[in-house]
Amino acid sequence: MAKLIKGQAFTYGTKNDGTYLTFDVGSTGVNVRMYATEIRLSLESDNNTATNGNGEVISSCFYNHRKILNITGMISGTTDTNTTAHADATFGTVIQAGDKLDISSTDWAEIDGDQFIVQTAEKVRSNANYAEWSITAIEYIGTGVANDNVS
């Protein structure tokens, strides 16, 4: 009897349709197109513990919940214009630490439409490679922190 070979379903790549994601950095209203090579989301918090007389942890309190987003990729202009000249101009967009970062990536609800704050940004042009942006951004997700609180 023939055996049916099956594969497994996985989430693959940085975006399901294989295209670019868009984001507005610095609340400019301009949607930058990025072909992301990697999107890395870390969930972090601080915590304190209480111990008993034997040194055993009997209580732990987590606070300052936050998302840390690392995103790296090539900039391909904006959703309005996609030419080599416009890609060059968009690459030179000024990014400041503290700028708001609003990403649209409908495949990944945890990052889509959230309001991150840029912590660090790095732009790289190197020989024989496409130029890249790397942005690290943070979003505090504790109780009482809403998108509207980010400005």
């Binding site: 790549g13 072909y35 391909s76 000249a85 024989a128 496409y130």
Partner: protein, 141 residues
Amino acid sequence: MSYRKQTEAAFQSYLQDQVGVPVYAGTSDTIKAMPCVVVAYVGSSQNPPNTGNMDISLSVSVQSEIDEEGQPNALEVHDELLSAVEESLFWSELQSINTGATDFYIFGVAEQSGIERDVEGTILRETITLTFPAALGVTTT
């Protein structure tokens, strides 16, 4: 049109303006007149994934018939032709290909290797191989 045809067509058109001999695309059904230049698409890989941009390898060969009973000074003519082709492939010159080939855009030359020489009978062939990122349908402004 495929990457192969677009790439060969762009380089054929560009080099035709740089050298005074026939320039042929890799697949040609015409009998070559010597000396000549042949541009041939060696292969490509998509980079970055899912963008449609390709890293392309292309060979550019200068071919001449070196025969004592044939054209006099054939080797000297060959050397001059090879120099002209080599100079035309330096990025300072080659980047003008983007204004001529509207459906073909080359971002830069990532690697240039050669010149490899081989002889087949009385035919002398010297080949430069280029590797470069390129895209179709990209406009500049």
